[in-house]
C-alpha cells in the first residue's frame, strides 16, 4: 500500500515546509493558495508567459508546470523570499529606473529570470540577455527598457559579486524518502505496478492534467525526478546514454552531448522549461513536432525501458507508434535514451538542425529537420535526414538515404528534385492552428534542399 498522505518536505524562501501533496497539484497552487505567496502570478497556466517563475534549487522554472511531488527535498525561492536580498534591490532598482515596470504583473518573473541569468553570467551580452529572458512575456514595455534594466543591474552587480552569496539556498536536510518520490528504478517499478503514472519534468503532463485533458485518469502520479540513475549522461562503446529524467539544460551543458542534439534541445521552449523538461518526456510524449526527436531518429536512438519482467531496448523509430502513442507498457519506465555517434558529428560540421516556429523562440515547431552527412572527395558516403511535424510521426527514409549514399558529388544537383519528389510523397502534413499543410510541405522540402546544397 502506498502511503499517499505522507508529507512532502521542502524549503520555501528559507523556511522548512511540509505538506500532504495532492499528486496532481501544481507548485503554483501550493505557493499561492496554501502558502499565500501571491507574488507568484498565474498569467497563462501553460508555461508560456513566465509570470509564475520561481527558482527551484536556484534554477528558474515555471511554477505552473511543476508538480508538487518534485519539490521533495528541494529549496524554492519565490519573489517573496528573493525580495529580501540585496541582489533583488539592485535588480528591482534598475528595473524601476529604466522604466521597465508598467502593469507589474510580469515583473516578479522578469526579476527572477534576471537573477537566474546574472548569477551564472555576470556580464551578459544583449543576445544572452534576450536568451535568458526569452521565457517571460511582457505586453506593456516592448522589452527595450527591460534589456536596459538588465544591463544596468549587471553593471552594478558585477562590482559587488558577494551579494550572490546571500541568495544561495540550501535544501532541507534529514529528509526521509517519500513513497511517491522514489529514489531507485526498482521503487518506481513497484509504483507502476500499483497503477501509478510517472511524471518527469511535467511541463506537458501537468498542463494537460490541469486543463482537464489528463494523462493519468486516476490522477495517481509519482515523480521520477529524484532517481539519480535516470539523471546521468555517459558514453560507452561508441554510444551515448542520456538519462530519461535528466533536464534538457543539463544535457545541453554536458560535454558528452553531441552538438546536433545540443542544437535541437536548445531550440525547445525557454530556460524555465529546459531547466526541468526531460528527454524522456520528449520521447514518451511522442509529439510529431517534438524538437528532440528528428535528431534522435538520425542517430539511430534506442529507448531503454525496464519493467517487472526486465529490460527492453527498443529502436526509437519503432518505439514511437503515432502521436502520443508508444510501445511503453504502463508498468514500464524509460530509463535512458542512447544513440550512436558517427564520427562526422564530432569531427566536422556536416550536420544541420533547423526548427521553424511561429516566432523566434519559445514556440512549437511548424516543421523541424535534422540531417547529417559525410562526403569524400568524390561521393556521398553517409546521409541521414529526418523531418518532424509533417506526418503522424517523424519521417526518416532509409530507402532514399541509401540512394543518396554513393552518389557522385557532381551528380548531386541534378538528382535533388528527384529526391525531393520522393520525400514529398512521404510527408502528409496537416493544417491546424499553427500552420498550413501547404506551408509545412513547402518549408520541409526547402529545408531538405538546403541540406543537399550544403553537401554538394
Amino acid at each position: 500500500m502506498i502511503n499517499r498522505i505522507k508529507n512532502i518536505c521542502c524549503s520555501i524562501d528559507g523556511c522548512k515546509v511540509s505538506f500532504v501533496p495532492h499528486p496532481e497539484q501544481r507548485l503554483l497552487d501550493l505557493l499561492r493558495q496554501e502558502k499565500g505567496i501571491t507574488g507568484v502570478r498565474e498569467g497563462c497556466g501553460e508555461g508560456e508567459c513566465g509570470s509564475c517563475s520561481v527558482l527551484l534549487n536556484n534554477r528558474l522554472v515555471n511554477a505552473c508546470c511543476v508538480p508538487v511531488l518534485h519539490v521533495h527535498g528541494c529549496s524554492i525561492t519565490t519573489i517573496e523570499g528573493f525580495s529580501k536580498t540585496a541582489a533583488f534591490h539592485i535588480i528591482a532598482d534598475a528595473f524601476a529606473r529604466a522604466g521597465a515596470v508598467q502593469c507589474g504583473f510580469c515583473t516578479p518573473g522578469f526579476i527572477l529570470a534576471t537573477a537566474a541569468l546574472l548569477r551564472e553570467n555576470q556580464q551578459p551580452t544583449d543576445e544572452e540577455i534576450r536568451a535568458g529572458l526569452s521565457g517571460n512575456l511582457c505586453r506593456c514595455t516592448g522589452y527595450t527598457q527591460i534589456i536596459h534594466a538588465v544591463q544596468a543591474a549587471a553593471g552594478t552587480l558585477s562590482s559587488v559579486p558577494e551579494v550572490w552569496k546571500e541568495t544561495d539556498t540550501h535544501p532541507p536536510t534529514n529528509i526521509s524518502p517519500h513513497p511517491l518520490v522514489p529514489r531507485t528504478v526498482d521503487d518506481s517499478i513497484a509504483l507502476l505496478q500499483a497503477g501509478y503514472t510517472p511524471v518527469a519534468g511535467g511541463t506537458d503532463l501537468i498542463i494537460r492534467q490541469h486543463a482537464g485533458r489528463p494523462v493519468s485518469a486516476n490522477g495517481n502520479l509519482f515523480s521520477c525526478m529524484h532517481i539519480a540513475e535516470l539523471q546521468t549522461i555517459y558514453r560507452k562503446e561508441g554510444r551515448t546514454y542520456v538519462g530519461s529524467a535528466m533536464p534538457l539544460a543539463d544535457i545541453i551543458a554536458s560535454p558528452d552531448c553531441t552538438p546536433i542534439l545540443r542544437e535541437a534541445l536548445s531550440c525547445i521552449a525557454a530556460p524555465g522549461i529546459r531547466n526541468i523538461a526531460t528527454l524522456g518526456g520528449n520521447v514518451c510524449n511522442a509529439s510529431p513536432a517534438a524538437d528532440g526527436l528528428p535528431v534522435l531518429y538520425i542517430l539511430n536512438a534506442m529507448v531503454h525501458v525496464v519493467g517487472p519482467s526486465g529490460q527492453r531496448d527498443i529502436p526509437l523509430a519503432k518505439y514511437i507508434q503515432g502521436p502520443g502513442t508508444t510501445l511503453l507498457d504502463p508498468t514500464e519506465i524509460v530509463t535512458c535514451i542512447s544513440y550512436e555517434e558517427p564520427d562526422t558529428v564530432q569531427r566536422n560540421s556536416n550536420w544541420m538542425f533547423r526548427k521553424v516556429g511561429a516566432r523566434a523562440v519559445n514556440a512549437l515547431a511548424k516543421v523541424n529537420c535534422a540531417a547529417l552527412w559525410e562526403v569524400d572527395t568524390e561521393m556521398v558516403t553517409d546521409f541521414r535526414l529526418a523531418i518532424g511535424a509533417c506526418a503522424p510521426t517523424v519521417i526518416r527514409s532509409h530507402d532514399i538515404e541509401q540512394s543518396v549514399i554513393g552518389t557522385r558529388l557532381v551528380d548531386l544537383p541534378t538528382s535533388v528534385d528527384h529526391w525531393l519528389g520522393l520525400y514529398s510523397e512521404l510527408l502528409s502534413p496537416l493544417t491546424d492552428q499553427r500552420s498550413t499543410a501547404e506551408y509545412r510541405l513547402h518549408t520541409a522540402l526547402a529545408l531538405i534542399r538546403i541540406v543537399f546544397v550544403a553537401m554538394g
Partner: protein, 714 residues
C-alpha cells in the same frame, strides 16, 4: 526639455517588482464563493432546453432572469446581455453560471449541464454579413465631381485581422453585498461605467453600488468594455446567494481569450481618383468592421476609423461609408487605437499601391499629402495646430537611414536574405469623438489639500481624486507630477486616491488617450486654483481640508454637429512617423524585424521614461498585430485561444525600439501635453507591411502577414 518631462521613478515600481502589489486574483476573503460559466457550444442557435443536474447544497445557478433591472449592459449601445436568453449568438456566450464554495466543483457541475440547441444559420465573416448595426456616410468636398473628371481610377481592398489584448493579468472581479450595498472590485479601466451598469442591471440606487479598481495588470482597451459584463455576472451572483458571502471569479487564460472582445477585423475598399495633373483628387472609401454579435461600442470605433480614413494625409474630396457588420462572433471591442490601426493600414497601403502605379517612391508620394495646419479633416474640421512632420521625418531619417536603405533595397537583393524598409505616417485624435467630452462625460476632478503633521515647511499634502485608473501606463505618477509641478511641490506631497466610486468624482473612463490631456488639464486648473488659495495664506486644518473641483469645459473654438458628423471630431491630434526594416528568410519566409524607429508629436511628454515605455510597448503590440498575432475564427471558435497558440512577441521578436519626441505644446493640455497612449499602435503595422512589400516585391494588403501567406503568394 521641460522640467515636467524629466523622468522620475514610479512609486509603484518596487511593490510590483517584489510581488506585494495586490491584483484581484490575490484577494481572498473569508467564505468567498467561486463561479463557473456554462458557455455556448453553438455559434448561433435557439436554446430549446437546459437541464441542470441536482446541485449539492451551497451551489446555485444564476442566469439572465436574476437581474431585477435588466439583463444587458450599456457599452455605448445597450444590447449585450450578461447571460444569453432565448438564443445564443456566438460560440462561448455564457448561458448561466454556477456559484458555490469550490471552483472545481462549480466547473464539474457546469460540465454536467445539458443544453439542447436548434441550430440557426451563422454568419462568420464580414463578406457573409447581411445586417449591419450602423451605416454612416461622410462627404468632404465634391468627390463625385472629382471621380467624373479623373484621368485614372484605382481600386483595392485591405483587410486586418482580430487582435487579442493579451494583458498579462487575466480578467477578474469580486462582488460582496454588505448593508444593502453591492461592492464590486476588480481589474478595470472604467469604474463609473461599471457603476452605471450595475445600478441599471440590479435596479439599485446609485448609492447602493460601489465599484473599486484593484491593481490592474494591463488593459489596452480590453478592460474597458468586458469588466461591465463580468461585474454584472458576479454582482448578480452575490445578490442571489443572499448569504453575504463574497463571490469572486478570475478567468483562466483560455476562458479569458474565449469570452472577451478583441480588435475589430476590417475590410476597407479604397477607390482613388487621379486628376489631370497626376495628383490624387479624391477617394471613395468603404469601411466595414466585424462588430460581432452585439453592437456594444462598435459605432464609436467605426466613427474613429471613418474620421481618419485617409490617415495622416489630407485629400481634398472624400466620401467614406462605414458599416459595422453583424456576425456570429464574440462582440468586437475596444483596443488601443480604436479603429485607427485598421483605417491607417488601408490608407497607408493604398498610398504604397498608388506610389507604385504612379511610378514614385512611397515617401515621395506620401510627403505631398501630409496634413498641414489649416487643412480640413474628413468631417471638415480644421487642423488648428502646426504639424511637425518635417522635424519628425528628419529625426527618423537620421536614425534609420530610411531613404538610403530604400534605394539600396529597391535595386535588388543585398544578401541571401531579402530586406525591405517601410515608412508610415499616423494621426490620432485625443479624447472622445465630437462633443463626447462635453455632452457625455462631463469630467469632474477634485483636489484636496489635507492637513499633515509634517515638520517640513509644507504642512499639507495634496490629494488627487479622479476615476482615471492606472492599468500599468503610469497614470498615477503622471497626474501626480502635473499637480506637483503646477503647485511647485515635491511629488511626494501629492497623493492619489485609488479609484473608488464612493470616494472619487467621475473624471470619465480611462480610454481614448484622454487621461493626461483632459483629466490632467482639469487637475492642472484645479492645482492653480488650490495654489492661489494656499498662497493667500489659507491652510487646511485637521477637521477641514481645502477642496477644489474642476469640471470639463469644451474649448470654445471647437464646433461639432453630431447628426451630420460636421466639425471638429477631436480637440487635438497627435502625430507620428514610423519606419520598420525587415528581413525575410529565403527558406521559411519568416519575417525578422531588424529595426524600428518612430518619432512622435504628443505635445510635451509628461515624463520621458514613462512616455518611452508607452511608445515602445505600443510599437511592440503593433508589430505583433502585423505579423505574429493571428486569431482565426473557425465556425465562430477562435482557433488560437491560448498563449501557446496565439503568439505575442517575445524579447527575441522585437529589436531595440527607438522612439523620439518632438515638442509641440498644445494650449489646452497640461504643460502642453496631448493624447499619447494609443498613437504608437497606429503606424507600425503599415510600415512593416510596406517593408515586407519591398522585400517580396508584392504589395501586402492583409495583416497579419504570416509566412504561410508569403509562401502562397509566390
Amino acid at each position: 526639455m521641460h522640467t515636467v518631462s524629466r523622468s522620475v521613478v514610479r512609486d509603484d515600481a518596487m511593490d510590483k517588482a517584489s510581488g506585494t502589489s495586490c491584483y484581484i486574483a490575490d484577494i481572498t476573503l473569508p467564505g468567498m464563493l467561486s463561479m463557473a460559466f456554462k458557455t455556448s457550444t453553438a455559434q448561433h442557435a435557439r436554446i430549446c432546453s437546459i437541464s441542470i443536474p441536482r446541485l449539492p447544497e451551497g451551489y446555485v445557478t444564476v442566469d439572465g432572469r436574476d437581474f431585477k433591472g435588466q439583463n444587458r449592459a450599456t457599452i455605448v449601445a445597450e444590447d449585450w446581455p450578461f447571460f444569453a436568453e432565448k438564443e445564443v449568438l456566438y460560440f462561448g456566450q455564457p448561458l448561466l453560471a454556477i456559484v458555490g464554495p469550490d471552483q472545481i466543483t462549480c466547473e464539474r457541475l457546469c460540465a454536467g449541464i445539458e443544453v439542447k440547441y436548434e441550430m440557426l444559420e451563422s454568419v462568420s465573416s464580414i463578406e457573409d454579413a447581411r445586417e449591419c448595426f450602423n451605416d454612416f456616410t461622410v462627404i468632404k468636398g465634391d468627390p463625385a465631381k472629382a471621380f467624373l473628371e479623373a484621368t485614372d481610377v484605382f481600386e483595392r481592398f485591405y483587410q486586418t485581422g482580430l487582435q487579442e489584448h493579451a494583458y498579462l493579468e487575466p480578467q477578474g472581479m469580486l462582488a460582496i453585498v454588505e448593508n444593502g450595498i453591492v461592492t464590486v472590485r476588480g481589474a478595470m479601466q472604467c469604474p463609473f461605467n461599471i457603476h452605471t451598469n450595475l445600478t441599471k442591471a440590479l435596479a439599485l440606487n446609485p448609492d447602493q453600488v460601489r465599484v473599486i479598481q484593484s491593481t490592474t495588470g494591463g488593459g489596452f482597451g480590453g478592460k474597458e468594455d468586458f469588466p461591465s459584463i463580468l461585474a454584472g455576472q458576479v454582482a448578480v451572483a452575490a445578490v442571489k446567494t443572499k448569504t453575504g458571502r463574497p463571490v469572486k471569479v478570475v478567468l483562466d487564460r483560455r476562458l479569458d481569450m474565449l469570452l472577451t472582445p478583441k480588435r475589430h477585423p476590417s475590410r476597407i475598399t479604397i477607390r482613388t481618383a487621379i486628376g489631370k495633373s497626376g495628383r490624387i483628387t479624391a477617394m471613395d472609401i468603404d469601411c466595414q468592421l466585424d462588430a460581432g454579435a452585439y453592437e456594444t461600442l462598435s459605432r464609436v470605433v467605426l466613427e474613429r476609423a471613418m474620421f481618419i480614413c485617409t490617415g495622416a494625409y489630407t485629400i481634398a474630396n472624400v466620401k467614406v461609408r462605414g458599416r459595422t457588420m453583424k456576425t456570429n462572433h464574440v462582440p468586437s471591442g475596444a483596443f488601443r487605437g480604436f479603429g485607427g490601426p485598421q483605417a491607417h493600414f488601408a490608407a497607408e497601403m493604398n498610398m504604397s499601391f498608388l506610389a507604385d502605379k504612379l511610378g514614385l517612391p512611397p515617401l515621395a508620394l506620401k510627403q505631398q499629402y501630409l496634413t498641414r495646419q489649416g487643412d480640413l479633416s474628413i468631417t471638415s474640421g480644421t487642423y488648428r495646430y502646426p504639424t511637425l512632420f518635417e522635424a519628425m521625418l528628419a529625426r527618423v531619417e537620421e536614425a534609420s537611414g530610411y531613404s538610403e536603405k530604400w534605394q539600396k533595397y529597391a535595386r535588388g537583393v543585398v544578401s541571401s536574405c531579402k530586406r525591405g524598409i517601410g515608412i508610415s505616417f499616423a494621426a490620432h485624435g485625443g479624447a472622445f469623438t465630437g462633443n463626447g467630452e462635453q455632452e457625455l462625460i462631463k469630467s469632474l476632478v477634485r483636489l484636496s489639500a489635507e492637513y499633515a503633521d509634517l515638520t517640513s515647511t509644507i504642512p499639507y499634502m495634496v490629494r488627487i481624486m479622479a476615476s482615471s485608473v492606472d492599468m500599468g501606463q503610469g497614470t498615477t505618477m503622471a497626474l501626480k507630477k502635473i499637480v506637483a509641478q503646477t503647485m511647485e511641490l515635491p511629488v511626494e506631497h501629492v497623493l492619489f486616491t485609488p479609484p473608488d466610486t464612493a470616494r472619487v468624482p467621475d473624471s470619465g473612463p480611462t480610454v481614448a488617450s484622454r487621461t493626461v490631456m483632459i483629466v490632467g488639464n482639469l487637475l492642472q486648473k484645479a492645482a492653480v486654483e488650490l495654489r492661489t488659495i494656499l498662497d493667500s495664506g489659507q491652510l487646511p486644518t485637521k477637521e477641514e481640508p481645502l477642496i477644489v473641483e474642476q469640471r470639463y469645459m469644451h474649448p470654445e473654438e471647437l464646433t461639432w454637429d453630431e447628426p451630420s458628423f460636421y466639425g471638429d471630431a477631436y480637440p487635438a491630434y497627435s502625430w507620428s512617423v514610423n519606419v520598420v526594416e525587415v528581413e525575410i528568410d529565403p527558406i521559411t519566409s519568416a519575417i525578422k524585424i531588424i529595426g524600428s524607429w518612430a518619432a512622435y508629436d504628443v505635445g510635451v511628454p509628461i515624463d520621458n521614461a514613462m512616455l518611452q515605455g508607452q511608445m515602445q510597448g505600443g510599437v511592440a503590440q503593433a508589430l505583433g498585430y502585423a505579423t505574429l498575432e493571428q486569431m482565426q475564427m473557425i465556425d465562430g471558435k477562435p482557433a488560437q485561444h491560448s498563449l501557446t497558440d496565439y503568439i505575442i512577441p517575445t524579447i527575441y521578436d522585437v529589436p531595440e525600439l527607438e522612439c523620439f519626441f518632438v515638442k509641440n505644446p498644445y494650449k489646452h493640455g497640461p504643460f502642453g501635453a496631448k493624447g499619447a497612449g494609443e498613437l504608437p499602435h497606429i503606424g507600425p503595422a503599415p510600415a512593416l507591411a510596406e517593408a515586407v512589400s519591398q522585400a517580396t516585391g508584392k504589395l501586402i494588403t492583409k495583416i497579419p502577414i504570416t509566412p504561410e501567406q508569403l509562401v502562397t503568394k509566390r
